[in-house]
Symmetry: C2
Subunit: 326 residues, 2 copies
């Protein structure tokens, strides 16, 4: 099986590649070839180099998407995207990457000819929803995003569903909750603090909390995100039906509960490394985000996340810190 990954240099892309290289399989199929694309040159995964093509390219650029699918990958993980904070501050870049890039990929597939019909797994976001919300957001809640990022994701979902319905591809869009704990350095996502208040203290560093402790949100670990992607790739058209864009499960908790969990696992001294410093832009963006989901369809289709925030922190300590706390 030949797999194309866009946004392959991003955090989730790299973790997905690691998993595919370790498994050497996706579902029942041997992974024979990987094509990795990103705006920055993706790294070549160790031990699999002979079967990997990497390329730095802008998917929305002329001919780029057609070239990306030239060797007809059977599965495409479309992860490429500008994150929420950047899409809000750079309107044109957000639309170029998140909308035009997605549309270019879909159009390349549609016009490829020869009966080409890949599986396309698209990472959408719970930012497709906008406040005010019911107590828990049901699967049939309307899309009223309050950010340009959420708008671009919602539009991409609609395009994917139409291309799926017309039979140009087999699509599935997974609305990721906030992925936490993100490893590495902070990115420009407005949601970055949800991770940094755990990651930095665990690494012996101070972290800044730009919102109130009472902010409630839904999280899943990077490990779960990779699990969602792989599970989504295995779902059939029949299982999915026409409503192919699905909110994923996650752990629903407040920032205060995240911090309690950190104190429980790593001790109060670690948890004390969080400094409160409200940031109006982040407060405003996050106030429009969803808190809690009733992700029934995802559960029925077998998607699984952690059950508690403790598990999320432990996954981070195992996967990123070699099991040790600083």
């Amino acid at each position: 099986m030949h797999i194309l990954i866009t946004g392959a240099a991003g955090m989730i892309g790299r973790k997905l590649i690691d998993r595919l290289v370790i498994d050497r399989a996706l579902g029942d199929h041997i992974v024979e070839k990987l094509t990795l694309i990103d705006i920055v040159q993706p790294a070549r995964p160790a031990g699999f180099s002979d079967h990997v093509k990497t390329r730095s390219a802008d998917l929305a650029g002329p001919g780029v998407a057609a070239k990306a699918i030239a060797e007809r990958p059977e599965v495409i993980f479309h992860l490429a995207g500008v994150v929420s904070g950047e899409a809000e501050t750079d309107f044109e870049k957000g639309y170029h990457v998140n909308l035009d890039g997605t549309r270019a990929l879909l159009e390349a597939i549609r016009t490829a000819g020869g009966g080409y019909k890949p599986k396309v797994v698209f990472t959408s976001s719970i930012a497709v929803f906008g406040a005010p919300f019911p107590y828990a957001i049901p699967d049939d809640f309307h899309l009223t995003p309050l950010t340009s990022y959420g708008t671009q994701k919602a539009i991409s979902e609609l395009l994917l569903a139409d291309y799926n319905r017309r039979g140009f591809l087999d699509g599935v869009g997974i609305r990721l909750p906030t992925i936490c704990v993100r490893p590495g350095k902070p990115n420009k996502a407005a949601s970055g603090f949800f991770s940094s208040i755990i990651r930095e203290p665990l690494a012996g560093l101070e972290a800044v909390l730009p919102v109130a402790d009472s902010v409630r949100h839904t999280h899943a670990s990077p490990r779960s995100a990779v699990g969602f992607l792989i599970h989504a790739a295995g779902l059939t058209r029949e299982q999915l039906g026409p409503r192919i864009n699905l909110a994923m499960p996650g752990v629903c908790c407040t920032v205060a509960e995240q911090i309690e969990s950190l104190a429980r696992i790593a001790g109060p001294k670690v948890a004390a490394r969080i400094r409160r410093e409200p940031d109006e832009l982040v407060v405003r963006i996050v106030s429009g985000w969803s808190e809690r989901f009733d992700a029934k369809r995802a559960a029925e289709l077998g998607f699984k996340a952690e059950e508690t925030f403790d598990e999320i922190i432990r996954a981070h300590i195992e996967d990123e810190l070699g099991g040790k706390i600083a």
Copy 2:
């Protein structure tokens, strides 16, 4: 006040122009100038020619949208669009006109500069919804269109809402129910039969019914559609809030009830001019359409339609047939 109308040669465009020329006002403002654009040359309204510019142009073409708003119309009625049947059979044309055309207009407004911030009234459609449906579709029901037309309308709504949120324009999207009775000749809309089964018999002609009598749908007259547009143009940002795309009210009834109404008003001989001839494409498209709405927000905001299908037929006889039945 300077008003731009796209899709000005279409049925609703022409009726809106007639009304604006008769009223010589929109809300509290005198109508001083009209710019009329369509893919075919729009007619010059009688008695107002000195203040009208007409142009045949493709809004998605290079520079066309910028030229359309060059004189900074304060209100834009964006009605231009390829209808549902045609968007389904001609995938590329549908996306070009219904998505690229809308985006080009919004981008022209955004980049116009000089603090330009028009009111943009966009005609969306109940085709943004897709089956299965609850008994009545609430205002917060999700967007899962089952046609390319519905997809393009849903995407345009999302774009309009984001451009509104960012302050580039004051937008409002009105989801028209099926407009019935459409005057003139059938167009390529899959919903065309809802009108022709009334219009043709009233004109002494045979009409074809391509779906079952039990099909339920929601209708409003062309007169109501114009009323929605004018009412929408008068709503403020504050009244609308962030959720600017609204399902309009209408008369919910079955095809059988439409025909009963026709028989009641025009006699059984007229109603007998309807011939049943199922059409699989139309049956399939219509089966994915919504039947009934709980259009609470529209009602709260003062949008009004007919209360019975009898009123809809009478509006047609008054407005199109000079009060007479053939």
